[in-house]
């Protein structure tokens, strides 16, 4: 009986390690090969890179792939849409959650439907062209924001319904205006949910590939994902450079993940589990 238990425990731990390793191997592979020279990286194996490490791969891709510009673009797109999304979604979700009139409930359902709805990119081109949003940085930021709003509103709506209304009532009795009430009293209380929205919106916009593929033609406006893909096409055989490029592209994502893991998991699982 006792040995049986030990065997089961060992198997369970072993299985967990195997699954973890399978999840990690592709990343380790990319990391190792980003430090090799082009010949050693050509068969993309898991051998440790030899000394000296090829740090030049990184400086190479930064200059060849115009990564500095793309990095700046990605940061701009992500930060701007995170900021816009947080403020618009919070204001909207706040009113829809606090004042559950028939109209507001219908508006809420209409917005949340966007989580499932696909974008018709072909027709979107017409709309984007009408507003001169094609090949434009502000246009892309607004599009990113529109895409992230439904889920952000869903998350904040749920969170706000758990924030007590007593404060609102007290503030209104003291003659506080609706705008002041929202910005100075309610918004600070939403910090945990806004942190989740921030982290998720950042990851989604950083990883976004389809919209820039459709709507950005000039390479100096490309985000990291698009330039890494373009680089992949151009330097098809130099896996050391491709790996270095990939490492630089996913590094911010990994850092955000490690720092904000709590918020990501809570955000992605909210609404999924009755709690």
């Amino acid at each position: 009986m006792a040995t049986n238990k030990i065997i089961r425990k060992v198997t369970a731990n072993l299985l967990a390690w195997i699954i973890s390793i399978i999840s990690l191997v592709p990343l380790v592979l990319v990391l190792f090969n980003s430090f090799k020279d082009s010949i050693h990286a050509s068969d993309m194996n898991l051998m440790l890179p030899e000394f000296p490490f090829m740090w030049t791969n990184f400086s190479n891709v930064i200059s060849k792939g115009k990564l500095a510009q793309s990095f700046f673009n990605s940061v701009l797109y992500s930060v701007a849409s995170v900021a816009l999304c947080c403020i618009l979604a919070a204001a909207c979700a706040y009113v829809l959650s606090r004042n559950r009139s028939k109209v507001n409930n219908a508006v809420y359902l209409y917005l949340v439907l966007g989580i499932a709805m696909p974008i018709n990119y072909v027709a979107l081109m017409k709309v984007m062209a009408f507003f001169h949003f094609i090949n434009s940085r502000p246009g892309l930021i607004l599009l990113y924001t529109a895409m992230q709003l439904p889920f952000a509103i869903f998350l904040l709506h749920g969170f706000i319904s758990k924030v007590p209304v007593d404060l609102d009532e007290a503030a209104m009795l003291d003659g506080c205006s609706p705008l002041r009430l929202f910005f100075f009293i309610v918004l600070p209380l939403l910090k945990p949910a806004l942190a989740t929205v921030t982290v998720l919106t950042f990851l989604n916009t950083w990883n976004e590939f389809v919209s820039p593929l459709y709507f950005l033609s000039s390479s100096d406006k490309w985000p990291m994902t698009l330039s890494v893909y373009n680089f992949f096409g151009m330097f098809h055989t130099d896996w050391n450079l491709i790996c270095a490029d990939i490492v630089l592209t996913i590094l911010p994502v990994i850092i955000v993940y490690l720092l904000g893991q709590k918020y990501i998991v809570s955000g992605m699982t909210s609404g999924a589990v009755k709690g």
Binding site: I115, L149, V228
Partner: protein, 292 residues
């Protein structure tokens, strides 16, 4: 307190406007354009009735294959992610060392860009030098080494497998949260009654997890129907004729070729389909929220 005054409707305008103009409007306009001969080659728009839909659903074109591929992708990845995710969630709610480390690592592929994951796997699945075949050959399992992405026989399966690898951690994490929300008293009662682990799983865990599984299914279906990056990076629809072509990659090709009308017709088929799924999603996800 006057609710309409305290919570003025204009707070919602910004979000509502952006969402309506850039998200909903193209969907609805797209349905309209589906009945025209809109293309990159002429400035004039003519009404053509159901012509584009006839093209999309006609047997002699590849479009049916595209629709069935998209559905196949969705069904297979949804079922396998749920099944494997459930097994892993059960495993990772047991007494295992470094539990949070394992959960964190297994979730990680999910935050990576789908495009980049696809790119990495074109190397791993390379028939000659790829890591997978090298691994099989060096461990005496050489008969498993296959030309994963270059033959029509394995290409679609390989793309689905990579997608499952990427998305499994997400589903697992949701299911772990679901399992942890089951009251331990059920299991205590079961063990007093002499139930073993398997019985407890089928009689307690699985039934109480059904609502959570409904959610993961809906999320997977929504995600699967919209798949683009993964296919685009790994096979771009090939090898051969439309072997791995899915809806969004096909629409992008039509867009690039200037066949806007057919592209938008195909998008509209999906749009209507997804709106229906969206209603299911809302019912599942907001069950205990809106009705209050």
């Amino acid at each position: 307190m006057n609710k309409n005054k305290t919570y003025p409707f204009y707070f919602t305008i910004g979000a509502l406007l952006l969402y309506t103009v850039l998200f909903v409007l193209p969907g609805i306009m797209g349905i309209g354009y589906s009945f025209t001969d809109w293309s990159a080659y002429s400035d004039k728009l003519n009404f053509v009735g159901f012509e584009n839909f006839k093209t999309v659903f006609s047997a002699d074109e590849n479009y049916i294959k595209i629709l069935t591929n998209t559905l196949l992708f969705t069904v297979v990845t949804t079922i396998l992610k749920n099944a494997l995710g459930l097994l892993m969630a059960v495993l990772l709610t047991k007494h295992i060392k470094f539990l949070n480390f394992h959960r964190g690592i297994i979730f990680m592929p999910n935050v990576l860009s789908t495009l980049i994951v696809g790119m990495i796997f074109t190397s791993i699945l390379d028939p000659a030098t790829g890591l997978l075949n090298t691994f099989f050959n060096s461990t005496g399992l050489g008969f498993f080494a296959k030309p994963w992405l270059t033959t029509s026989q394995f290409a679609f399966g390989s793309v689905m497998a990579v997608d499952i690898w990427k998305g499994l951690g997400y589903i697992m994490t949701i299911l772990i949260a679901g399992i942890l929300s089951i009251s331990p008293t059920y299991y205590e009662a079961a063990s007093i009654d002499g139930a073993n682990g398997v019985q407890a799983f089928f009689k307690i865990t699985l039934p109480l997890l059904l609502p959570t599984l409904a959610t993961t299914t809906v999320l997977n279906v929504i995600y699967g129907l919209k798949i683009f990056d993964m296919v685009y990076a790994m096979t771009n629809g090939g090898p051969g004729k439309a072997t791995t072509e899915v809806l969004y990659t096909a629409v992008f090709k039509m867009f690039s070729n200037g066949q806007y009308a057919v592209g938008t017709a195909l998008s509209s088929v999906m749009f209507l389909f997804m709106v229906v799924i969206g209603f299911f999603m809302i019912r599942v996800m907001t069950k205990n929220e809106v009705v209050e």
